[in-house]
């Protein structure tokens, strides 16, 4: 076993060597511009792009023509939301999203608010899921778009996408989902899930960084977007710019592998994830899972170790790469807004760790991580005045803190 261990796959994943091998010739030999229609260099590049388009479409139950290549999910999210807001401005100006969305959604919506859009940010329940009745109530005749993520990047919970899509369809509202964390990990089908627009990214699914795609439904209904980048009119006019052929070929291969291996891989990952969870929950007291375990990605575990601060925990397990919702680890010095939205309380947000298992993690690594985390949490609790007070039976919520 090699240290450090990488267990932060919601941030990014390594490119699978099989993906890399598929990409390799596209750097130096098959270097043509996929838009060059009059020579074999261009044709070969286009062939690679179209193969990838089909591989991506197959993974999500779409058709090739519905795939628009982008630089990644942030761009896909921007294009979907801004593109719809602009194209359907005459129909309405209301967008519905949720408080736990990724910043690429929230900040895009905030910008649109400055340009006359009205945005509803739905709260989530303590399990991390949106309340469908609340969603239904939020839809007005001015609503043009519902954008809700498929799987959350921090707590891994899966929103009831099928029901959301059905509701949107019934009310004649478009449904976009940021499916970056879900595609390739759990079965996603744009037809059974009633999805009109879907964002995905290469580097979350063992493909390269800098490439992603936006699925844009072509029939029932035909979704139109206003392009956000002007230029050569690539990608059916929706996204100009010379195609990143190498990255696209890699994204396609990553999708093909994910589709092939998903049944087996998700079983293996949920076994390892549950093993880690059980280890932590049996050997430590006052450990809380953030978000429902019932509707969740197989490789995600987000857990709060009460009375232990997240950054100090990361420091103790510095041979393991994971993330924390602690303010001290974020650029803004604010604890995770996702965990706060669950109503967990800031103290538990500060104490949270996100584990994201990957295709390449072994059982030996998982066992090592479990042991190490238990050891460090116990050590830090010896150091924690809060743990001491809790053990003395003091109710910490009733203490008058000298807040800083």
């Amino acid at each position: 076993m090699k240290l450090p261990i990488y267990m932060d796959s919601h941030a990014t994943t390594p490119t699978d060597p099989r993906v890399f091998e598929t990409m390799r010739p596209y750097f130096t030999e098959i270097f043509g511009n996929a838009a060059s229609r009059n020579h074999s260099f261009g044709w070969q590049a286009e062939e690679g792009v179209e193969r990838a388009r089909k591989q991506i479409a197959d993974l999500i139950g779409a058709t090739s023509k519905e795939i628009v290549f982008t630089s990644g999910a942030t761009e896909s999210n921007n294009l979907a939301i801004k593109g719809v807001a602009e194209m359907y401005a005459e129909k309405g100006n209301h967008i519905i999203t949720a408080a736990t969305e990724h910043k690429a959604i929230l900040d895009t919506c905030k910008r649109l608010e400055k340009h006359g859009c009205r945005v509803t940010y739905l709260p989530v329940q303590t399990n991390g899921l949106v309340d469908l009745d609340m969603l239904r109530a939020a839809i007005t005749d001015k609503t043009i778009l519902i954008s809700l993520m498929y799987a959350n990047n921090e707590i891994g919970v899966l929103q009831p996408v099928q029901e959301i899509g059905k509701m949107a369809r019934e009310r004649g509202v478009l449904f976009h989902t940021d499916a970056v964390q879900a595609v390739g990990k759990v079965p996603v089908n744009v037809n059974t899930d009633n999805i009109d627009l879907l964002s995905l990214s290469g580097h979350k699914i063992y493909g390269p960084k800098g490439v992603g795609a936006l699925y844009v439904r072509r029939r029932n209904p035909r979704v139109q977007l206003t392009a956000q980048m002007d230029g050569g009119g690539h990608e059916r006019g929706m996204r100009s710019g010379t195609l990143n052929v190498t990255g696209i070929v890699g994204l396609g291969e990553a999708c093909a592998i994910a589709q092939r291996d998903m049944p087996e891989e998700s079983k293996r990952l949920s076994y390892l994830r549950d093993k880690l969870k059980n280890k932590l929950m049996t050997e430590l007291d006052e450990v809380y899972i953030n978000g429902t375990m019932e509707h969740r990605l197989p490789h995600n575990l987000n857990i709060s170790f009460a009375y232990v601060e997240g950054e100090s925990l990361l420091m103790g397990i510095n041979d393991i790469a994971v993330s924390s919702g602690s303010a001290c680890t974020s650029a803004t010095l604010e604890p995770s807004y996702v965990l706060k939205a669950l109503g967990a309380g800031d103290d538990l947000a500060h104490s949270s760790i996100r584990f994201g298992l990957s295709r390449f993690n072994t059982e030996e690594e998982v066992d090592y991580v479990g042991n190490k985390v238990v050891e460090v949490v116990q050590k830090l609790r010896e150091l924690s005045p809060l743990y001491e007070m809790a053990k003395e039976g003091i109710d910490l919520t009733k203490v008058q803190w000298a807040a800083h």
């Binding site: 009375y307 232990v308 601060e309 997240g310 950054e311 100090s312 420091m315 103790g316 602690s326 303010a327 001290c328 010095l333 604890p335 309380g345 800031d346 103290d347 500060h350 010896e382 150091l383 924690s384 005045p385 809060l386 743990y387 001491e388 910490l396 803190w401 000298a402 807040a403 800083h404």
Partner: protein, 136 residues
């Protein structure tokens, strides 16, 4: 973020971890910070009532590595000082000793506050003790 070797040393081998009897007349206890802010420090001193010298100092901290290191260092510095000398410890001394980056300065401020709170608690106890001894 990269930690200085001194922060790492205090984190890995924290000095004077523990608790003193907070009911003891010669023990001063300071607790500062709040769980929702991600930092709580408890710092205690035990003072020799005759000499006025701090003979023991203990801490427990919930917080990041720099907060743990700041309070661990504070207990080291407190031992052997008089209560008045203890009040002269400034957060900037802790910043310099541990090489804390700007985003971690609040950890040193918290440690200074914890020292002050512990000494104040000790002094309050002493002041309350005197009238009692007169009446006894």
């Amino acid at each position: 973020m990269a930690y200085s070797n001194k922060v790492l040393d205090h984190y890995n081998n924290p000095r004077n971890v523990g608790s003193l009897d907070k009911k003891d007349q010669n023990v001063g206890t300071g607790m500062v910070g709040a769980p929702e802010c991600g930092d709580v420090m408890k710092l205690q001193v035990k003072v020799d009532p005759v000499t006025g010298i701090i003979e023991e100092a203990k801490f427990k901290t919930f917080g990041c590595g720099s907060a743990i290191a700041s309070s661990s260092l504070a207990t080291e510095w407190l031992k052997g000082k008089t209560v008045d000398q203890a009040l002269e410890i400034k957060n900037i001394d802790i910043v310099n000793e541990l090489g804390l980056p700007p985003v971690k300065i609040h950890c040193s401020v918290l440690a200074e506050d914890a020292i002050k709170a512990a000494i104040t608690d000790y002094k309050t106890k002493q002041a309350e003790k005197k009238p009692e001894s007169v009446s006894a």
